[in-house]
Symmetry: C2
Subunit: 329 residues, 2 copies
């Protein structure tokens, strides 16, 4: 049984996991959907009630029925490397590739539907609330008056994008910023705006979850840190990510979150306040983990490899879709 | 409790359903996400573990908690009517709108994740097979030799797009075409190609499913029809769509298909062969039904309205996502 990794050519994080899989002598095929058609080819036949599919990469033929798991790491758009690239060819190629893979029994990290849903920040906030994770008071609005009322109740606010990374090529992270006290908010009428009570934090927490395994890391905020530096990705800090225990109530909430979201992998960001409370900020279903592993020494890549290499669960028809059947939203 | 219809301004099919809902005095809000922000506004607040959201359209304010159902008919891209339209604003606005709607208890026709998955033709074919619906022998390939071998076994073939409509603006349907006997198939290396055994058909079948209700219509193919006219959408026929009974084995397969796919609405296309067998061609989760209703007299719009207006199912937390929890792929 083979592990399929969908990612682009330059991907150090994937390299780390491939090295772990190689150590375990687990067969791996790595391909970039951008190379389909061309270096990557596929074929699937539906005859007399059965489906048989194959992928070919670099002359190697893999049966889709022999796929153990699929890791969607950082794939290019299908057919984007084709000589005659077009939106139409991308759509045709993506539907062919992912449509066939969806028909296999492989386990997914993460299933594309679960991944897509998990990117919705408003949905994340609701789900985190339902799972009992503390969420800082948040408003998403196009009503200037609603924003003003919210700022009256919660005077110390940050603003962040609703959707995450800016969709330019390459995508650019949009930093979370502090809202100036005299902000008028008239401009929220021109685009949905996410305002959130600023958590006065003494540390940032990154909790990386791989299946049932959790790796929590903590990065201290210096007491004299600039309070305008709210986004850990852009803060000038010399502190390192250090392993930390996950409070049991957080662990329980996160487990429920991942189950309801149908995610095999999730990277949670929390802000730890002065009393030690972890406030949910977001869960990134495709979050990087290389930087945490390097600083904290936590064996995250090995955990990903273990998950991908695990034998299929017992039962008559273990399949990826069933594994992310939604219990909640 | 209000029915929310997401569609563009010019939509006769939506008009038909709104008329039915008005007859039943069911509150309806109709909006085009293209008008957000601007004529459409939204606000959602996450405070102390609860979410409260509102939509505003034409000065009317609707609580998201008061939504009974959401019908995704033919919505424009979010924010596409904005004065400063951009991919970024579309992404922000779509995430805000759909992210909040995903957090409500409303029932969906169809849930966006189920709808997206249901568009994958390779997945459709596998699911139809698993549901016991007869599927004509089909090959999707980028291997010229696989195509040639398939054509040796099934000499009378049609070719059709893997993904459906061509993604131009407005989207253009790509007709299914007959494959000439002397075709070389070298070109399949340049793009995934779907080849299917041509069903020599005596009628086209359109089976429109709305919740548990099925409306089958049949359009006779004239005995002297041009065998190259394989696509009913483009065929020159004077026959009308006529109501027909659904064979019980087909009804059972279709019910399973819709349940596994998590779809509340599906328009199935079948080809009826000389022996009366219905061959599955595809299931369009957003299929038009106006033309069938007009010719066949079947009350499809009323059935859609009934489904949208139905009270929420009993239980502690009836929600849209639960309604499409996947039992299979």
């Amino acid at each position: 049984m083979t592990v399929l990794i969908l990612t682009c050519e330059q991907d150090v994080t994937a390299d780390m996991v491939v090295a772990e899989l190689d150590r375990g002598a687990v067969p791996v095929v790595r391909l970039d959907p951008a190379d389909l058609p061309g270096p990557v080819a596929l074929s699937g036949e539906y005859v007399r009630g059965t489906f048989r599919g194959h992928l070919s990469v670099g002359g190697r033929l893999v049966s889709m029925g022999g796929l153990r798991s699929v890791w969607i790491r950082r794939p290019g758009a299908a057919a984007s490397h084709a000589a005659e690239a077009s939106d139409w060819l991308t759509e045709e190629s993506a539907q062919a590739l992912y449509g066939m893979l969806r028909s296999t029994d492989a386990r997914w990290m993460n299933h594309p539907d679960a991944a897509r849903r998990a990117r919705h920040k408003p949905w994340q906030l609701s789900l985190a609330q339902r799972c009992g994770l503390p969420v800082p008071a948040t408003l998403i609005t196009t009503f200037p008056q609603a924003a003003r009322d919210f700022a009256d109740r919660f005077p110390d606010l940050v603003v962040k994008p609703v959707s995450g990374a800016h969709p330019q090529e390459p995508p650019r992270a949009v930093p979370t910023s502090r809202v100036a006290p005299d902000t008028d908010f008239a401009a929220v009428a021109f685009g949905p705006t996410l305002l959130q009570r600023r958590v006065v934090k003494r540390a940032d927490i990154r909790l990386t979850c791989v299946g049932e395994r959790m790796f929590a890391a903590r990065k201290t905020v210096a007491p004299d840190a600039d309070p305008d530096e709210v986004d850990v990705r852009f803060a000038t800090s010399s502190a390192l990510w250090q392993p930390v225990d996950t409070p049991s109530s957080v662990a329980a909430g996160v487990r429920t979150y991942l189950r309801e979201a149908g995610l095999a992998f999730g990277a949670f960001d929390f802000a730890e306040d002065a009393e030690g409370m972890w406030w949910f900020l977001e869960c990134n279903q495709s979050g990087q983990f290389g930087f945490v592993q390097i600083e904290s020494g936590q064996p995250i890549a090995a955990a990903v490899a273990d998950w991908l290499a695990a034998p299929p669960p017992p039962g008559p028809r273990p399949n990826g879709a069933r594994a992310w059947a939604m219990e909640g939203h």
